[in-house]
């Protein structure tokens, strides 16, 4: 608990987390506004109300990676290890704090986005949180944000440089996973099981749903499988980060 409050002081005594959190909320609300007003609100769905959360998650990963890499950039990681020489405790405290923050941010943003779109949507397509799928599409972002935070902390710890870590965290979900599709024959299948693509299935309406008149991709993992793939990625990367942290000179 002590170490959590240590990390909390560290995180919130700098400016970038505030900016990142504000822009995550702004992205969530902006897309919710857009989806609620397109065609007079007749296209609004629970799924579409959450569009901004996908960008929000990437912004949160930047925040989480920076929480680690700025410590390396300014040498404060050494002060951290002088204050807390048991290095796993530092990494655990940092990870837990960012996981909690990620979950809270996702919860606030996803509900804010849902209710904004719901308020704007046409009465012909009422948005409700009735089925389990509805809840999963909204609250599911909480789990994804939390796991994304773990991935970002791990990448930040492994790479140590802000620019490098952020590049990886942007290129991987936005570009790399899509490029995999270009591999002949198996590309499509691999793509569906890549961590971020698989994770997206956890908050998507399901294989038979249509978005703007187009069917979502068929095949690939189910919602729960998608979450597990993402979680496994987070665990593997985090374990690697811990191992490296222990062996490396600070």
């Amino acid at each position: 608990m002590t170490l959590l409050s240590v990390e909390r002081i560290k995180l919130f005594s700098t400016r970038s987390p505030y900016w990142c959190l504000a822009s995550i909320l702004a992205a969530a609300l902006l897309f919710a506004l857009l989806m609620g007003t397109i065609e007079g609100g007749r296209q609004a769905t629970t799924y579409l109300s959450q569009t901004g959360l996908q960008i929000g998650m990437i912004v949160f990963m930047v925040l989480a990676a920076l929480a680690v890499t700025t410590e390396y950039r300014f040498g404060t990681i050494r002060v951290s290890f002088l204050a807390v020489p048991r290095r796993p405790n530092v990494l655990i405290a940092k990870t837990v704090l960012l996981v909690v923050l990620a979950a809270v941010a996702a919860l606030v943003c996803s509900f804010a986005a849902f209710f904004l779109t719901k308020a704007l949507a046409s009465p012909e397509v009422p948005l409700t949180l009735s089925s389990g799928d509805d809840w999963r599409m909204v609250v599911g972002h909480t789990a994804l944000f939390a796991l994304a935070a773990v991935i970002a902390v791990a990448v930040g710890t492994l790479i140590r440089q802000s620019a490098g870590a952020i590049t990886i965290l942007l290129v991987w979900p936005l570009l790399l996973e899509n490029l995999v599709q270009l591999i002949p024959k198996v590309g499509r299948d691999i793509h569906n099981w890549m961590p971020f693509t698989a994770a997206a299935n956890f908050v998507s309406p399901g294989p038979n749903a249509q978005v703007f008149g187009q069917a979502l991709q068929a095949g690939g993992p189910t919602a729960v499988q998608g979450l597990l793939v993402f979680a496994a990625t987070a665990v593997v990367l985090w374990a690697a980060a811990l191992l490296v942290l222990l062996r490396r000179d600070a």
């Binding site: 240590v6 005594s13 400016r15 404060t76 050494r78 002088l82 204050a83």
Partner: protein, 367 residues
């Protein structure tokens, strides 16, 4: 107490620290001396558990740093004053360190007062001058009121006032019975601060002795005498059994108080044109000890003065700004070899000349 036993560190194939063994005792300032790249910082980082030793072990009060409970209450350290987040306030910087080591919140204010940063405590530390950052680093080291303190080159880049302040601070900490280890590449600086010296070069132990012993072994205090009747004076001195040598038309007298030489000349009515204590050989001695072990030796010979070093203080002083004659050049009590330093002797008079980094051929203290 700090115990370093057979400590060795390889960076790849480079041997940075080579089977280093020494002990740092409480109640004294121990200087950790060596040229740049000798392995001082690496050793300190290994003592503090930041770097993993290749072999050997470093213990603080019998335990490895990583085994200490709330280590900042046992060991305070300032390795690099720039290890701060530029957007974080000084107070926040100290607050998280205090929280991590179970130190009460009011102690943060206490150490801020102690180092004189109270008024700027809310400011982002990135706006601090180097001197202020050093003070913040010192505040961090003192936060847990530790018994053991380590400072790595604490006066590097500071102005004379800052140097004096840090030096006084370290002496006071040792006087309180704490264990203080201070690294430096300046023997002249250490001579004024440290009671005991651990000298290393290329990662190996060169000397481990009291400062007084080290300096008297490394240097002999001499007095330079110029007189139009030098021959006569030399004979008188010989008769008194003093050790005297003629050198470039002047006399160099060893191991004799400067007052006695002056009195002798006056009693015999011999006019003196110059009577000055010679202390420059201190840095030369250090160079000889560590010169072979300096990691990056310059192959450029600046053309040293014919007598080598500082036998003529005015030749040396001429290379410095006007008014910057080292205090030690003024005849004083028996040549304390340490009085000839520019850095600490005249605070505030010539900050521009205080170069504590890099070799400057004309600066007797700028080793």
């Amino acid at each position: 107490m700090i115990e370093v036993k057979e400590l060795t560190k390889f960076f790849g194939k480079t041997l940075a620290v080579d089977h280093l063994t020494f002990t740092v005792r409480p109640g004294a300032v121990t200087g950790f001396l060596g040229p740049n790249g000798a392995g001082k910082s690496t050793t300190m980082r290994m003592i503090l558990g930041l770097d993993n030793p290749s072999t050997g072990i470093a213990l603080i009060d019998g335990k490895r740093y990583a085994e200490l409970h709330q280590p900042m209450t046992r060991v305070g350290s300032l390795l690099d004053a720039n290890w701060i987040h530029p957007n974080r306030s000084a107070r926040a910087h100290l607050r998280w360190m205090a929280r991590a080591n179970g130190i009460k919140e009011h102690r943060v204010q206490q150490v801020l007062d102690l180092v004189g940063l109270t008024e700027v405590a809310g400011k982002a530390a990135g706006q601090f001058s180097l001197g202020m950052k050093q003070r913040l680093g010192l505040a961090g080291a003192l936060l847990g009121d530790p018994e053991v303190l380590l400072f790595d080159e604490p006066v590097n880049g500071l102005d004379p006032e800052g140097i004096l302040w840090i030096r006084t601070f370290m002496r006071r900490l040792a006087a309180q019975g704490r264990t203080v280890l201070v690294s430096s590449h300046l023997l002249s600086e250490m001579a004024q601060t440290a009671d005991h010296l651990i000298v290393i070069g290329r990662g190996r132990l060169i000397a481990d002795s009291s400062t007084r012993e080290f300096i008297s072994a490394a240097t002999r205090s001499t007095v330079l005498v110029r007189s139009p009747r030098a021959g006569e004076l030399q004979q008188l001195m010989h008769r008194n059994g003093w050790s005297v040598q003629a050198q470039d038309g002047a006399l160099v007298v060893s191991d004799t108080p400067i007052e006695q030489i002056g009195d002798l000349a006056a009693a015999s009515g011999i006019p003196l044109h110059e009577l000055s204590p010679q202390s420059g050989s201190l840095e030369q001695a250090f160079m000889q000890l560590t010169g072979e072990s300096a990691q990056y030796a310059s192959h450029w010979d600046p053309g040293s003065p014919p007598t080598g070093g500082v036998t003529d203080p005015y030749a040396m002083a001429g290379a410095l700004p006007a008014g910057a004659v080292p205090a030690g050049a003024v005849p004083g009590p028996p040549a304390g070899p340490i009085t000839g330093t520019v850095t600490g002797a005249a605070p505030g008079t010539m900050p521009g000349a205080v170069s504590t980094t890099g070799p400057a051929p004309t600066d007797p203290d700028g080793m």
